[in-house]
Symmetry: C2
Subunit: 240 residues, 2 copies
C-alpha cells in the first residue's frame, strides 16, 4: 500500500467532521440495574427496559422485596439486594428517594466502582403550595453522586418521566425525550442509546453535570403542569 490522494481516502476535512450525534452505540447486551427498583419510578423504568428486551435487575435494601417486585414485572426482570444488583449490572440507574440518596451511594461505593451510573433523582421539597427545588450542597443529586463515587462514571438522565405512564402496560410508547447529562461523551451516548431503547423516547445530550440541577428541579414545574392540566407531562426537545 502506498499513500495516495484518491478521493476515497479520508481527507483531513473528513477526519475532522463532527460525529453524527444520533450515531449511538448498540447497548442491547448491557445489563441494567435499578437501585430503588421497587419504588414507582424504578419499577416503571425497569418495566420499560425489560419490555424493550434489556436484561434488568431491580435492587432494593431487601432482596425478598426486590424479587417480589421483579416477579410482578415479568419480562425476565430479576430482583436482588442493592449490592448484588450493582455488582451484576453494567449500567446502574439510581432511582432511590432523595433522602436516602447519599447514604445508599456511600454504602455501594465498591460495588459501583467502574460502573456507568445514571442518576435520575430529583431533590424536591413539598409544602402546601406544591413542589419546590432543593439545592444539594454539591450542586445537584448527580454531582453528589459523582462526589461520592469517584471510581464510577456518573451521568444523569430519566428525570422527567411519569412513573404512571412508564408502568401503564397498555401504553406501547412513551411520548417524551430524555435529557442526558455527563462529562464523558461515550458514557453519555450509552445512556442516550438506552433511552432510545424505550419506544417513543429519544436520549438527547443536554450538557455537563454542572447543569444537572435545573434538569432535576424542573420536575417541580412538571408537577404544576400535571396538576393544572390533569396530565402526566413530559418534554420533547424541538428542532432536533
Amino acid at each position: 500500500m502506498t499513500s495516495s490522494s484518491a478521493p476515497q481516502d479520508p481527507t483531513p476535512e473528513a477526519a475532522k467532521a463532527p460525529k453524527d450525534p444520533w450515531d449511538l452505540p448498540d447497548v442491547s447486551g448491557l445489563v441494567v440495574g435499578v437501585l430503588g427498583g421497587t419504588g414507582e419510578q424504578g419499577r416503571g423504568l425497569a418495566y420499560r427496559f425489560a419490555r424493550a428486551g434489556q436484561k434488568v435487575i431491580i435492587g432494593s435494601r431487601s432482596a425478598d422485596r426486590a424479587r417480589d417486585a421483579a416477579a410482578e414485572l415479568g419480562h425476565g426482570v430479576e430482583g436482588a439486594d442493592n449490592a448484588e444488583t450493582a455488582r451484576r449490572s453494567d449500567v446502574v440507574i439510581v432511582a432511590v428517594p432523595w433522602d436516602g440518596h447519599a447514604k445508599t451511594l456511600e454504602s455501594l461505593r465498591e460495588e459501583l466502582a467502574g460502573k456507568l451510573v445514571v442518576d435520575c433523582v430529583n431533590p424536591l421539597g413539598f409544602d402546601k403550595k406544591g413542589a419546590y427545588a432543593l439545592k444539594p450542597e454539591e450542586g445537584s443529586a448527580a454531582e453528589q453522586a459523582a462526589a461520592l463515587l469517584p471510581d464510577s462514571r456518573v451521568t444523569a438522565a430519566f428525570h422527567h418521566l411519569s412513573a404512571v405512564l412508564l408502568q401503564d402496560t397498555s401504553l406501547d410508547e412513551i411520548d417524551t425525550d430524555v435529557m442526558v447529562l455527563g462529562e464523558e461523551r461515550a458514557d453519555v451516548e450509552t445512556v442516550q442509546a438506552l433511552a432510545g431503547r424505550i419506544a417513543g423516547m429519544r436520549g438527547v445530550f443536554a450538557g455537563r453535570l454542572r447543569n444537572a440541577h435545573q434538569v432535576e428541579s424542573l420536575v417541580a414545574n412538571l408537577i404544576s403542569v400535571n396538576r393544572r392540566y390533569k396530565a402526566h407531562a413530559g418534554l420533547r426537545v424541538t428542532d432536533i
Copy 2:
C-alpha cells in the same frame, strides 16, 4: 322567574368544576412593550407579536436606536425609550441582558407600577466549558423583578425561544411551547394567551415564581443541545 331544580340550572358541582386550563382571555387588544427590544431576543419577540397582529412598542435606553430597530421590524412596531415604552404598554416584557436587569427595573419602578411584567431573562455565566446557571440572590431573575417591582404583577415566560428562529421571517411557525410562571392565575393566563398568539406556540402554566430558577437556567442545557445537534432547540410539553 322562580327558582327551579331543572337540570339546566347550575348545580353546586358544576360551579365547583375546575376551569378549563385552555380557556384563556382575548389579549388581542393589549399593547405589548419589550424592554431591551433592540437585543436579539427582544427583536425576535417584538417581530413575532407584531406579525401576529399585536400592537408592539420596543424600548431601549436610546429612543433613536429603538425607533431605528422598530422601523426595520415593520408590522407597525414603534420604538421609544424604556420609560415611555413601559408607560404606554399593558404588558411589559423584560428582555434586557442579565447584567443590566436589576438596574433597568429599579429605574422603571414607577412606570411599571400596575403593569403586567413578563420577565424572560436567563441569568447565565459562560466559560470555556460552555454556559452555566447563575443563581440570583432573590432565587431567579423573575423573583428579583418581583422584589424590585412591588407594585407590578410579575410573571416569567419566553425563556426557551431561539432568537434566530424568532427573527427568521421565512418561518411561519415556531415549534415550541412557552412555560409561563406566576402567582396570580389571571396574570399567568394573560401571558399564556399572548404566547398562543404566536403561530406554533402554546403558553403552558408551569408553576409559581419560586420555581423560575430552573426554567431560566435550563437555557444553559439548550445551549449544549444546540451545539451538539447544530440546532435551535425549543421544548414541547407532552401529554397536554
